[in-house]
């Protein structure tokens, strides 16, 4: 580090970074401040585990919590194998010329707005689901699942491909020299080496699945009951925030939204810290 005084521009650079960092913390503080009354009055366990019934004075976010988790886990269950398979293809299995094209297609997919996916699915999937399930409106957790999987898959694929291609060529060339097939190379050499990347990708994908609003808002029905099965209409934490924002700012209902927000924020922070810890753990192991 130099010891001369920083010029004005350099102070500005520092200021920019500091402001951005402060804003991140500020968002948390805002959420916490506004949600404090509800946190103080109701017990935390009550809030997290009781149903949402404002008429009876219950402001629990349990139904929304359960729905968000169910939806995220289900869509990860679909998206993870698909992403892994696609990244296998892009890294090794496809002919060289096809790889670039596929990668470009996946990158374009990351740019497609979620509202467009949801809009098409609303008229394509919902009637289909209604007939498949036999009863209900067709707007269920199960309807939102494949769409959400399609939203998070491209990002996960890019992440996986990135980590696969970082595996040292020494290993891959050695495998080729020993006569290993592409699949063998992937399964026994690349995947174990790139496992940290895969874990991180899964964490990111899960975070994205928990945090998506439009897919569940438009496709999952938004009822306030606790979902007993995935073929029921339900409301996620994010959809709850979107729906309740129209409320009286001083009301307890509105404040429940901050609890949702706090939960999502803390979840993100925890996931990110897990991300860092896993990177450190895996690189430490090397």
């Amino acid at each position: 580090m130099t010891h001369r005084a920083y010029s004005v521009s350099e102070h500005l650079f520092l200021a920019a970074a500091v402001i951005s960092g402060l804003l991140t913390v500020a968002v948390f503080c805002f959420l916490f401040l506004f949600g404090l009354p509800l946190l103080q009055s109701g017990q935390l366990t009550d809030l997290l585990f009781s149903p949402w019934a404002p008429a009876k004075g219950l402001y629990g976010i349990y139904p929304m919590l359960k729905t968000s988790l169910l939806l995220a886990l289900l869509s990860m269950a679909i998206a993870f194998p698909i992403s892994l398979g696609c990244s296998f293809i892009i890294t090794s299995l496809a002919p060289v010329r096809l790889r670039g094209f596929l990668l470009a297609v996946i990158r374009v997919m990351t740019g497609i707005p979620t509202v467009v996916y949801s809009f098409a699915a609303l008229f394509l999937l919902v009637p289909l689901m209604r007939n498949l399930i036999g009863h209900g409106t067709g707007m269920t957790i199960l309807t939102a699942t494949p769409v959400l999987a399609m939203v998070i898959a491209p990002t996960m694929i890019l992440f996986f491909v990135n980590s696969f291609t970082r595996v040292s060529t020494a290993y891959t060339l050695a495998t080729d020299a020993l006569g290993g097939s592409e699949t063998q190379k992937l399964l026994y050499v690349i995947l174990p080496q790139a496992w940290p990347g895969v874990v991180n990708g899964v964490l990111l994908g899960f975070g994205r699945a928990m945090g998506d609003t439009m897919v569940s808002l438009m496709l999952a029905g938004n009822s306030i009951g606790v979902p007993e099965s995935v073929t029921e209409s339900a409301r996620t934490l994010t959809a709850h925030i979107a729906l309740v924002m129209a409320f009286d700012f001083d009301s307890m209902e509105f404040k429940s939204v901050f609890v949702c927000g706090l939960f999502l924020y803390i979840l993100t922070a925890v996931l990110m810290m897990l991300f860092r810890m896993s990177t450190a753990y895996f690189s430490g192991r090397k």
């Binding site: 960092g21 497609i112 467009v116 008229f123 990135n162 399964l187 924020y265």
Partner: protein, 292 residues
């Protein structure tokens, strides 16, 4: 036995790829099928003459021109705020920061990048309520609040992109100017930034795409169903993604629905167009190993 397993994996991988691509094609084809017929001038301008609408002399009521204008204003406004702060922050992270502080900032920016967009929207709404309490009746949800919130949303991407772009400049190039007597600042502005510019611009385009497509943030901070083109940044506005969401839940008849599909196609073209230009710009400097 093992061969069987490996073959299964191969087949399943191809199946996965096929599934994803097919789903994508199906989606696009369906959109075009339902909305293609409505892609004409009246989708955008309704019954108002195009020239009058463009010159803002008359408001468009049955077309999506206000929504398109709103989205463009959003992009311009939020990029105007986010680009300077993002690039400056990225420069700081890449050049002036190290050690524990860098880890801390990295963590904070990762969190900001990972926070769901609706939380950012909620923060924007809270800010509005907070300001409204203090400056009684003067601040309300408007274009300005939305631009600020969207800027916050894309800030971590810009910082991260600038940081990575600067850090991956060839060490030889990085060391040349200081050796010749340039100051640190001169090195950054005259050598490093121009070198990294294509990555930075590609990052900007990606961030712009993000601003254009985001619905959750603008839903809470000022997008409404009917507003025309706003006359000032303190006015409410319409936006394409919000229009699509709104139409999806309430449309009066198949014509309005076809309009919704048309709007979806337009938004799709806008976002993928931005993304493709970002990729094209970045390709000039292919640093990633694509082939193995």
């Amino acid at each position: 036995m093992r061969k069987l397993f490996e073959d299964c994996i191969t087949i399943l991988s191809w199946f996965a790829g096929l599934l994803l691509i097919t789903a994508l094609l199906f989606l696009v084809a369906y959109l075009v099928y339902r909305g293609g017929s409505s892609l004409n001038v009246s989708l955008i301008f309704g019954e108002t003459a195009a020239l009058d609408a463009l010159l803002l002399k008359r408001q468009v009521f049955d077309g999506i021109f206000p929504a398109i204008a709103g989205t463009l204003l959003l992009i311009i406004g939020s990029m105007f705020i986010a680009i300077p702060v993002g690039i400056a922050g990225g420069i700081y992270m890449a050049e002036y920061c190290s050690g524990a502080i860098k880890s801390l900032f990295n963590l904070l920016f990762d969190i900001l990048a990972g926070v769901p967009s609706i939380i950012i929207g909620l923060a924007g709404l809270l800010l509005t309520i907070f300001l409204n309490r203090h400056f009684q009746g003067q601040i309300a949800t408007c274009l300005l609040v939305s631009c600020l919130s969207l800027a916050l949303l894309v800030l971590p991407y810009l910082i991260r992109t600038t940081q990575t772009a600067l850090e991956t400049v060839d060490p030889v190039i990085r060391k040349t100017a200081p050796v010749l007597g340039a100051s640190r600042l001169q090195n950054i502005t005259l050598v490093l930034l121009p070198n990294a510019i294509s990555d930075i611009i590609s990052g900007i385009m990606l961030a712009t795409g993000r601003c254009a497509e985001d619905t959750a943030v603008i839903m809470l901070t000022g997008a409404v169903a009917t507003a025309g083109v706003p006359h000032s940044i303190f006015g409410q506005y319409e936006a394409l993604p919000f229009y699509i969401y709104y139409i999806s839940s309430q449309y009066n008849g198949p014509d309005e629905l076809a309009q919704g599909f048309g709007a979806a196609i337009i938004l799709l073209i806008l976002c993928t167009g931005l993304l493709i230009s970002a990729l094209w710009i970045q390709r000039r400097l292919t640093t990633m190993l694509l082939y193995r």
